[in-house]
């Protein structure tokens, strides 16, 4: 019974951010629910192997990301894109315009970001993870996280600028 309560507590603590992360990756509600559930199933089967319980959250996110990559492996090959710092000019996005955006608009913009950058950007905003933690979750070097973040955030800024320009002003 205690074991079940522990599992319930664990799910209750982490299902929201995991679902948000899954949705930022899959852009599909049903698939995100499945990914979240699958992650907890794997925890139920293998979670006891994790000795450092402070790493539970990271473990869950890493597992979800692995599952996502596993499901996508046959479908997509991520392109390798190097960051060129001055490739694009930074668009002007006002805080006022950003404040007017709702969740749906924001998620729509995130969906348009290249798939390679979505995971670091989602973790960056959804969970306030440090670069090191994002690197651990995605199992990539910290330098890669930084470059992917910069690239993804730049793209997001462009998309938000477009969205705010198209939005009717009150």
């Amino acid at each position: 019974m205690a074991e079940r309560l522990d599992f319930e507590n664990l799910v209750a603590c982490h299902y929201q951010p995991l679902y948000q992360f899954a949705f930022s990756l899959t852009r599909d509600e049903a698939e995100s629910c499945d990914l979240t559930q699958q992650t907890f199933c794997i925890w139920a089967a293998k979670g006891q192997q994790l000795r450092d319980l402070s790493k539970v959250k990271t473990w869950l996110f890493t597992t979800l990301h692995r599952e996502f990559l596993g499901s996508r492996r046959r479908q997509t090959r991520f392109p390798h894109i190097e960051l060129e710092a001055a490739e694009s000019e930074l668009p002007e996005v006002s805080p006022l315009a950003v404040n007017r955006l709702d969740v749906e608009q924001l998620m729509t913009a995130l969906r348009k970001v290249d798939e390679l950058y979505q995971a670091p950007v989602a973790l960056f905003y959804l969970q306030d993870y440090s670069y090191k933690e994002i690197a651990e979750i995605l199992e990539v070097p910290i330098g890669t996280v930084k470059s992917r973040l910069a690239r993804g955030l730049l793209r997001l800024q462009h998309l938000l600028a477009d969205a705010s320009n198209q939005a009717p002003t009150p």
């Binding site: 799910v11 948000q20 629910c33 710092a85 930074l90 805080p95 924001l106 973040l149 910069a150 955030l153």
Partner: protein, 254 residues
């Protein structure tokens, strides 16, 4: 560091987090302190970042997902437990059945080995009584030995003195498992019609072919079918002398 480079770096800066510990961000923040334009941009950027973070975090999972995960996991655990029970029950049942079958086999009366002395005596007596055909009809003991030797049946047997004097009429070779048994036929008493089977028979077999043959040369008298028989062992051979006469007559030829 140029201003545009600093802007790109500061895109990933979240105030109030550990991002400030990143060396590139530290350098870009230092530049912002001395660059008014960058500083103004950073102030707007921080506000934007804060708004984005708040908006992103408003995004919620569908209602019911929590219960769905918990209930499906509980169901899957129940199924797994049931499967384990089923496996245990199957294992216990299998072990029990195997045990019962093994025990039954172990405890079941085993069929009597058919190479024992009793069976030998019965089988040889049956040969004598059922109307056999002699393979060789002669009263010459040497011919009989030669014939038996040729047929790879025991030929170097020993005859008691009374038997040596008994009327020899022939011999036959009988089978006993994978070995051969010499059957030497005699007539004792008044002469019988020619071709009539004898009334005294001596069977000789290798001792090793009869499982519980007597251990010595003292004849064991017994009644087998309608015959009286004496059985003994001598020099690695089992002898069985049988007759339709009574025991007293038999004893005279031992």
């Amino acid at each position: 560091m140029r201003r545009d480079e600093a802007r790109i770096i500061l895109l990933r800066y979240r105030p109030g987090t550990t991002d400030r510990e990143d060396p590139d961000i530290r350098e870009a923040l230092a530049l912002a302190q001395v660059d008014d334009k960058l500083s103004r941009w950073l102030a707007d950027q921080e506000e934007c970042q804060q708004a984005l973070r708040q908006t992103f975090q408003k995004f919620k999972a569908p209602e019911g997902l929590l219960q769905q995960i918990i209930s499906e996991q509980a169901a899957s655990q129940r199924a797994a437990t049931n499967q384990q029970w089923l496996k245990c029950i199957t294992l216990v049942a299998t072990i029990t059945i195997v045990g019962i079958i093994g025990g039954a086999i172990w405890l079941a009366p085993r069929p009597q080995a058919d190479d024992t002395l009793v069976i030998f005596e019965r089988q040889m007596s049956a040969y004598a009584l059922r109307g056999y055909t002699m393979d060789l009809q002669t009263n010459d003991p040497e011919q009989i030995r030669a014939f038996l030797r040729q047929r790879q049946a025991p030929a170097n047997y020993t005859l008691s003195k009374p038997l040596q004097k008994a009327a020899l009429i022939g011999c036959a070779v009988e089978g006993w498992h994978s070995t051969k048994v010499s059957m030497i036929c005699f007539i004792v008493g008044k002469p019988l019609a020619p071709g009539t089977p004898g009334n005294f028979w001596l069977f000789v077999a290798d001792q090793a072919s009869v499982k519980d043959a007597p251990s010595d040369s003292t004849p064991q008298i017994s009644k087998v079918n309608q015959l009286v028989t004496a059985t003994w062992v001598e020099k690695g051979k089992v002898y069985m002398l049988s007759t339709t006469a009574d025991e007293s007559v038999l004893r005279k030829f031992l």
